[in-house]
């Protein structure tokens, strides 16, 4: 007989695509209106000029660059984690990978918007591209901002393909299960997929190669983003630890975003059968490891500056430790270190709710971390003429805040048109030799998942 769970997997995972509830329209209207408000704010900024933002001498990088670094960090949730789990052949990755890879693509798109929003004249953004202009003036390849352009676009292209290629067999399932216009559209998207052994081998080999290629690219992306800071002569920025510190922070915030997304999907799309508590527990353990690593990097960074005792660096150091930025700094420490350590370190709290609370704290904490790297240093450089205060204005708050709604909107729309859990990977996971699969229980209808 046909594998008993296959029709059920098809029907469970295709339900959100084939049936639309009023909640979908409500969510789209809610998030869509916030995004429209942000677009209106951006238009206003373009029309009235950059003066309506709080970005002025000496703090030229405020909420926009904070959000840029934050979202590029969040993008490390997906492709990097998915690629690592794919290479080590972690069986429990199967329901998680697509949820994660989508976050990467959307977070990169949102993050890459900020350098353009940050430009006073965004229509001149193409000056950053290496195109042969009339006067043969090329971008300066020795500038970290140009490195950003190459690194982010390589990661975006790789992540889009890494997400798209394994979607082809699932498009074929939707094609076979639908009728009319939907069948025609998914038929085109499926690219004539039939599921021959040759096609499966090629797809799996391609995914392996991409996983190998995308891991160093992901690491390079946030290292290059850290170079935007560490290559500049600004107090507390010129640090050799910034590369790995940024990468660790990015993976940390990425895992947190993934946990929140998985919990929301599980709840609203009724995917309890596929997203098990064990997935949250495993990712919760990763969150704990990253919290410890983050704490290690912060301790290193702070201790070295403290022992160096360089006056300009110490001025910034004390601004964050016990002066004007201290409330934000200690909130960050609690959110990024204390809360995850307690909730993820004690097994009793490592539940789905515990994971979501810890992850929400980490998201807030990591945004604050980016802000605290940028603003206190820029507002207190080497000489008194370059001291200043940054006060974010409504336009920046609206645009930066709305990106969360933009992320949610893109996610909701994606889950409406593509199975949010990879159908074929889930089915492939059920072909594990029977002696390795313990009996199914009521709590875990698919049986316990293996690392």
């Amino acid at each position: 007989m046909t594998h008993p769970s296959h029709p059920r997997i098809n029907s469970d995972l295709l339900r959100p695509l084939l049936q639309t509830s009023w909640r979908f329209y409500l969510l789209v209207a809610l998030f869509g209106s916030i995004v429209v408000a942000a677009l209106a704010s951006w238009m206003t900024q373009m029309y009235l000029g950059f003066g309506i933002s709080g970005i002025r001498w000496p703090v030229y990088w405020g909420f926009y660059v904070t959000s840029f670094v934050f979202w590029i960090g969040i993008s490390h949730a997906g492709t990097l984690i998915s690629a690592i789990l794919r290479l080590v052949n972690a069986g429990w990755r199967r329901p998680v990978t697509r949820c994660a890879e989508v976050i990467t693509v959307f977070a990169l798109m949102i993050g890459a918007m900020f350098p353009i929003i940050h430009l006073g004249r965004p229509w001149l953004a193409f000056w950053l591209f290496p195109y042969p202009s009339e006067r043969q003036i090329w971008p300066n390849f020795r500038s970290p901002l140009v490195w950003d352009f190459f690194a982010i676009n390589t990661y975006l292209a790789g992540s889009v393909l890494f997400l798209l290629l394994p979607m082809i067999p699932d498009f074929a399932v939707v094609r076979d299960k639908s009728t009319g216009l939907r069948r025609r559209i998914y038929g085109i998207l499926a690219l004539g997929w039939r599921g021959t052994t040759k096609q499966w081998h090629r797809l799996e080999t391609a995914m392996q190669i991409m996983a190998v290629a995308i891991i160093p690219v992901a690491v390079s992306v946030h290292t290059v983003v850290s170079f935007d800071f560490s290559m500049a002569p600004v107090p507390m920025w010129q640090s050799t630890i910034f590369g790995p510190y940024f990468v660790a922070g990015a993976i940390f915030s990425g895992i947190a975003a993934l946990l929140i997304a998985m919990a929301v999907l599980r709840r609203f799309l009724h995917l309890e059968r596929y997203l098990h508590p064990v997935h949250f527990e495993n990712l919760g353990k990763l969150l704990l490891v990253m919290a410890l690593l983050w704490g290690y990097f912060v301790f290193n960074e702070r201790l070295v500056v403290y022992y160096g005792n360089e006056p300009s660096e110490m001025a910034v150091f004390w601004r964050t430790q016990r002066e004007s930025f201290a409330p934000l700094y200690w909130t960050m420490v609690v959110c990024n270190f204390v809360v995850p350590l307690v909730l993820m370190g004690i097994r009793w709290f490592r539940t789905i709710t515990g994971c979501v609370i810890a992850s929400a704290c980490v998201v807030v904490g990591m945004w604050l971390e980016r802000f605290l790297i940028i603003v206190p240093s820029l507002g207190h450089k080497y000489l008194p003429y370059s001291y200043g205060i940054y006060r974010p204005q409504p336009v920046e708050i609206i645009i930066a805040g709305s990106t969360f709604a933009a992320m949610a909107l893109l996610y909701v729309l994606f889950a409406k048109v593509v199975p949010i859990i990879s159908i074929w990977e889930l089915k492939a996971g059920e072909h594990t030799p029977p002696d390795l699969i313990p009996p199914a229980t009521e709590e875990h209808p698919l049986g316990e998942l293996h690392l």
């Binding site: 140009v146 292209a157 076979d176 599921g195 081998h201 797809l203 080999t205 391609a206 290629a213």
Partner: protein, 166 residues
């Protein structure tokens, strides 16, 4: 004659069908197996495995390396700009551009190789939507009329409902 195929409910029956087709004179190149997921637990799931994809990915990566170095060298020497005393063509910063384009080349070459070698986007000779429900299709495309009876018998012996597409 377009194809003759059978639909099987499990991997063991499909494996039997493949073996019987071989015994009936069909070569591995002629046999088509379609599944809803990769099935490497069975021998038929490992057919047609050889691929040059890794080599094409390496070639794409090398092309990316050459593009990165070439782009950096051509552009930097076409408008020589002194930046903080760095050489006009400075290796350290250019390694970043070169690395990114190397990886981009490898990734794009992999995707292109997949599309071409998996024959994506081309009109298929035969297919059955029952595959999406977990059935395993085993068949032969375009067999000569004289061989159809033998192939049909081989497929039916493994316990399938055999279909013939004309």
């Amino acid at each position: 004659m377009k194809a003759v195929y059978g639909l099987y409910a499990d991997g063991s029956s499909a494996q039997q069908a493949v073996n019987r087709l071989r015994a009936a004179g069909a070569s591995d190149r002629d046999i088509t197996v379609m599944t809803a997921q990769p099935m490497e637990d069975f021998e038929f799931g490992r057919m047609h495995k050889a691929t040059w994809m890794w080599w094409f990915a390496c070639a794409g990566g090398l092309t990316g390396t050459a593009s990165g170095l070439g782009l950096a060298w051509l552009t930097e020497t076409s408008w020589p700009l002194d930046v903080g005393g760095l050489p006009i063509f400075a290796w350290w910063p250019n390694l970043i551009i070169t690395f990114e384009l190397t990886m981009l080349g490898a990734i794009l070459a992999t995707a292109i190789t997949l599309v071409i070698t998996a024959r994506l986007g081309r009109r298929s000779t035969f297919y059955d939507p029952a595959v999406s429900d977990g059935k395993i299709l085993v068949g032969v495309a375009g067999p000569p009329e004289s061989a159809v009876a033998g192939l049909e018998a081989a497929l039916a012996a493994a316990g399938a409902e055999v279909r013939i597409l004309k």
